[in-house]
Symmetry: C2
Subunit: 348 residues, 2 copies
């Protein structure tokens, strides 16, 4: 019933617990072949599994890093965690997850909820308590995150968000460049009046994406027209409303900073018999599941979430090896998927 210990193995195998430990840890030449065999046999028959708690306590080493996720159910989080775990596995580390469930508790409206910092501290304490050797924070919507770890010299890395306290490294997708490429693609296809549906201004993602598209316009000597930029809130609904506003201004293409918002535009177009990929070109961001649900499929930019996880883990493990890492923003390229929802301006 209760778990076997090395003590029991030692008794049954007629050896000392030290020998059992040595054998189990494969210390070279520390036991005769017969004893090795005996110990291994007894261990297997007892279905022995080392007690991680005791092991780590004794070794003073957990070989684990913590993940503080703002919300596990927000679409990007799982992919990032997956990336972290992949990287950790390679280096024989493991990841411990603390999920704050922020979105489940408060939705998108995270501002001015003091309770949040309680949740953060609880999550952090929990992880430290478990002796993690480092920690990765996963935000959402690229918000600015105001909490940072109290004192400890624990390696701490942020991802998918921007820490207020710039003394920690953070990992983001290169939204600016992605946006630049999107702009170039649209412009190269002849579009000059491009409507933009931005995310909220407090989102770092929004900021960067805006700068990128502006840069593309600038390169092509097309003046940026604030009048054809609508500020949205990431929802389908706002995309829908923005569509009518933008289309009435005669834009030939609409670039929304999320697939969800562009999906509202899509709905508007259908309702008004505007043919996507013919009468109007549409570009989204995130490359979420819904892009393939449309006819024609939606063009979008895909952040490499897995790679962001890798990078974040790399930054933590590097610090654990004593390397100093740059406490700056580490930026990873997106992939631009141009799909039939965009077309050249003469083609229609």
């Amino acid at each position: 019933m209760s778990l076997a210990t090395i003590k029991e193995i030692a008794k049954l195998a007629n050896v000392s617990i030290a020998t059992v430990s040595n054998v189990l840890n494969q210390k070279p030449g520390s036991a005769s072949p017969e004893k090795v065999e005996k110990v291994l046999k007894v261990a297997k028959s007892l279905n022995y599994r080392p007690n991680y708690l005791a092991q780590s306590l004794k070794r003073q080493r957990s070989r684990s890093i913590g993940i503080i996720a703002e919300d596990l159910t927000v679409s990007q989080t799982a992919e990032i965690i997956n990336g972290i775990e992949e990287y950790c596995e390679e280096y024989d580390y493991e990841a411990l997850l603390a999920n704050m469930r922020l979105f489940k508790r408060y939705g998108n409206n995270l501002s001015a909820i003091p309770e949040r910092s309680v949740l953060f501290n609880r999550a952090f304490d929990n992880l430290v308590s478990k002796q993690v050797e480092g920690c990765i924070y996963i935000g959402y919507h690229g918000r600015e995150v105001s909490f940072s770890p109290p004192d400890t010299g624990l390696p701490f890395v942020y991802t998918y968000c921007v820490p207020k306290d710039k003394s920690y490294p953070y990992v983001l997708s290169d939204d600016e460049n992605a946006s630049l490429e999107i702009g170039r693609a649209l412009i190269s296809m002849g579009h000059r009046r491009i409507g933009i549906i931005s995310g909220p201004v407090n989102s770092f993602n929004s900021q960067k994406r805006l700068v990128g598209i502006q840069q593309a316009l600038f390169e092509a000597s097309i003046p940026y027209n604030v009048g054809t930029t609508v500020i949205g809130d990431w929802t389908r609904e706002c995309g829908y409303h923005a569509a009518s506003q933008l289309l009435s201004q005669g834009v030939t293409a609409i670039y929304a900073f999320s697939d969800k918002m562009i999906s509202g535009v899509y709905t508007y177009c259908i309702e008004h018999r505007i043919s996507v990929g013919k009468d109007i070109s549409l570009f989204g961001f995130d490359d979420s599941d819904i892009v393939h649900a449309y006819t024609p499929p939606l063009a979008s930019a895909k952040p490499d979430l897995q790679e962001m996880g890798h990078k974040a883990a790399e930054l933590v493990l590097a610090q654990l090896q004593g390397k100093t890492v740059c406490t700056k923003c580490h930026v990873l390229p997106c992939t631009i998927h141009v799909r039939p929802s965009v077309c050249s301006i003469g083609e229609a």
Copy 2:
């Protein structure tokens, strides 16, 4: 730098470690008010956090349950985990996650990959090693799962899958009843020729959903026509192909066992100028993000994943309290969302 211990607190507060421990654990009347205050002050100043490893080792109690997820990035998994965590939090337990990354490694083709059991054993050992008091297995696509925990009397509960070994409880959504309701809804709207796009036959979900719709037909004395059932593989592509086959047979409604498959049908309809919600009624399953992306929005059935997580956790914790739980299938209702993608047969 390194973490403070009760020993250090004891020294600084001029008390014994036993007193520190008593104070920190709020043992009533075990220390004078002055000492309590002193200890608390020192603890705070040292930023003390109890060592979970040592604590649990000593207490012989981890107050944690393990989660073995087949793949964290499969859409339903995170929601279920969220539910488990919510339930655990109420009872002062916590969840430890072991992610096998099965989908990331092998995609949908999980059959005949012997390595899988290695991954399962590794995950299970890892969790047991950490002294979890129980375990929840989260599958995907309602497959039959052939691995079960080796020996240990550890409470073990499956969810979103069906264990081959029926001596463990498992939690599923009530797909049969959901399907029955979908069938009734369609029939009540006048549909008699209903095309079905099933998932793979080895999916328990497929089986149940098929039985449900058959039951609805039976109730209405409509003979079930195998010729208008296509077996798909959960993908959009197969939905697309099934659509042409089904529509040529003159069905007035198509019910696909996943939103993804129905989304292929949607594409087919657009390409062939068949008006969804007028010329044809469409019903999906899962109620995923994409249902709102369509115009008109897609009708679908929503499994209560969060509640499934709650239930699974409940079944584990109940066993920990010595209660015996039913080692049967525990089934949770879905919500049926009828949306404008379906219409009455005369309405068109």
